[in-house]
């Protein structure tokens, strides 16, 4: 599903590479944590999978498509098969939970009728049934992140990328969000999550890839934060 083959990335003006000869292979339906200290290169991987950053060397293949050689005009269509969740939620403040999710559908050409059918379903799935018409500022942090997950998942992507999704949440709420991601993973969606929340990694007991100074120092099938 996802292959990084000897990927090296050095940002302009940086003294050392963010990713140094990194190779990882992720199968369909896996749940993988990327862990490591700030600046270790974890987020660069997410950006590469989104075709936002191109590697200097090596090859990135996502969902059977070689991202390295992909032309930028193909990026929009490519992104429709990837869901994405961030630490800062990135919701539209002037739209309700329902409208935030529906917006993501409508801007890729789905009709309002499709949105009316699919959006309540996915909001129910993330546990926000009954709160469809709340605005983000009327929701707690955990609920806002649920809206973001609903938006990422509404298009039934093959891959869900999560960049520190629990970074702004308290431990209990974080665990609820993790349960939600786990449920999404059980539907067959590949989940890639970048984090440095050791609690969560230890509880989930999933594959852990640890990165330090741009290199993989550990790749363990049922790992802990260590």
């Amino acid at each position: 599903m996802i292959q990084l083959e000897q990927v090296t990335k050095t940002y302009p003006k940086a003294s050392r590479p963010s990713l140094d000869n990194v190779s990882v292979s992720i199968e369909k339906g896996e749940f993988v944590f990327f862990i490591g200290p700030s600046g270790s290169g974890k987020s660069t991987i997410i950006k590469m999978l989104l075709h936002e950053v191109a590697p200097n060397k090596g090859r990135v293949v996502v969902n059977g498509k070689d991202v390295t050689s992909m032309r930028s005009w193909k990026r929009p269509h490519f992104r429709r098969s990837i869901g994405c969740v961030f630490q800062d939620f990135r919701l539209l403040p002037n739209r309700t939970a329902y409208e935030n999710v529906a917006f993501a559908l409508e801007v890729i050409g789905k009709t309002k009728a499709v949105a009316r059918r699919v959006v309540p379903e996915v909001l129910e799935l993330v546990g926000l049934g009954g709160k469809e018409h709340r605005y983000p500022h009327e929701l707690s942090g955990g609920e806002q992140q649920r809206v973001a997950v609903a938006r990422a998942f509404v298009n039934r992507p093959l891959i869900l990328l999560a960049d520190e999704p629990t970074g702004n949440l308290d431990p209990d709420t974080s665990i609820e969000i993790m349960r939600l991601l786990d449920r999404i993973n059980r539907t067959g969606t590949t989940v890639v999550m970048v984090t440095h929340d050791s609690n969560i990694v230890n509880q989930m007991r999933r594959r852990v890839v640890e990165i330090e100074s741009g290199r993989i120092v550990r790749d363990q099938a049922r790992g802990v934060y260590g």
Binding site: W73, F103, I108, G109
Partner: protein, 291 residues
């Protein structure tokens, strides 16, 4: 739904920053009015050239004491000249009659000039008005010829003035167009900034580039089209005020600008206004949104 979405975004966009939109539309309107005016003058000058140069004459004035033999010799030469289309002889009596007609409002002047004091002349039409110089060189030293005057010299001066007015209008159009472009670029930047969250989400979930850009580009195009409509109104008003009122005395002199001419120039203004704004907006977005 997508068309409706894009259109409502355009209106919201223009309204959100209404002072800037108005500034953009006004500069655009002034620039396009100048462009339209200079286009109209171009046609006007062309028409006038056709009209005037067709009727232009070279006058060869003879000495008042010219002998009949000299006169007949000049006439013979002129009629045989391949450069000349036709020759009319205006004798002293005829010249005096024309003089009386021309100055009928000034009887003092007429009574001061004796019938005998006006020189006889040949009025000739050239096949090609540009060849005046040849005629001048050939006949200036002929016996009995006093002076040769080419009317086209006078017209050249008038047309030079008209052409420079036209160039000034065109230059003003260009300068205003630069101001309009900068305003469009600025307005689009502000619009893109105020919609940066929406744009970020759209890029994230894979909305197509045209769908992200369309509302911004159309916002600029709508402003350009409104500007060209205002320009049309300005030209109509100018025609009404100038030609129907203050310049109507010069009716026979200036070839008229018809309403048709103005309607004909409008697509040019609308096209330039729309395309230039669309291009500016699109280029601005490429730098600003990197889509």
């Amino acid at each position: 739904m997508r068309v409706k979405y894009v259109l409502s975004e355009v209106l919201v966009g223009l309204w959100r920053n209404v002072t800037m939109s108005i500034a953009m539309i006004i500069t655009m309107a002034v620039s396009l009015t100048m462009l339209g005016a200079s286009g109209l003058m171009y046609r006007q000058v062309d028409d006038m050239k056709d009209l005037y140069y067709k009727n232009i004459e070279v006058s060869i004035f003879l000495k008042t004491d010219v002998t009949d033999a000299q006169r007949e010799q000049v006439q013979g030469q002129l009629e045989a000249d391949p450069l000349i289309n036709n020759v009319i002889y205006v004798d002293k009596t005829e010249a005096y009659k024309r003089f009386q007609e021309m100055f009928q409002d000034a009887p003092d002047l007429i009574s001061a000039v004796k019938e005998d004091s006006l020189p006889p002349s040949f009025r000739i039409k050239l096949k090609n008005p540009e060849q005046y110089k040849n005629i001048y060189d050939q006949y200036k030293n002929t016996e009995g010829v006093e002076e040769i005057i080419d009317q086209s010299r006078l017209l050249d001066k008038i047309f030079n003035i008209l052409t420079s007015i036209q160039n000034i209008a065109l230059a003003a159009a260009v300068v205003m167009a630069i101001a309009a472009l900068l305003l469009v670029a600025n307005t689009i930047q502000v619009a893109a900034y105020s919609k940066r969250r929406e744009v970020a989400v759209m890029k994230l979930v894979g909305a197509s580039n045209w769908f992200i850009q369309a509302p911004f580009v159309l916002e600029a195009v709508v402003a350009g089209l409104i500007g060209s409509l205002l320009g049309l109104v300005a030209l109509v008003a100018a025609k009404y005020l100038l030609f129907e009122r203050s310049l109507s005395a010069l009716d026979g002199l200036l070839s008229p600008i018809t309403w048709g001419d103005i309607l004909f120039i409008f697509p040019l203004m609308a096209g330039v206004g729309g395309l230039v704004s669309a291009g500016t907006a699109w280029i601005t977005l490429r730098f600003y949104l990197r889509v």
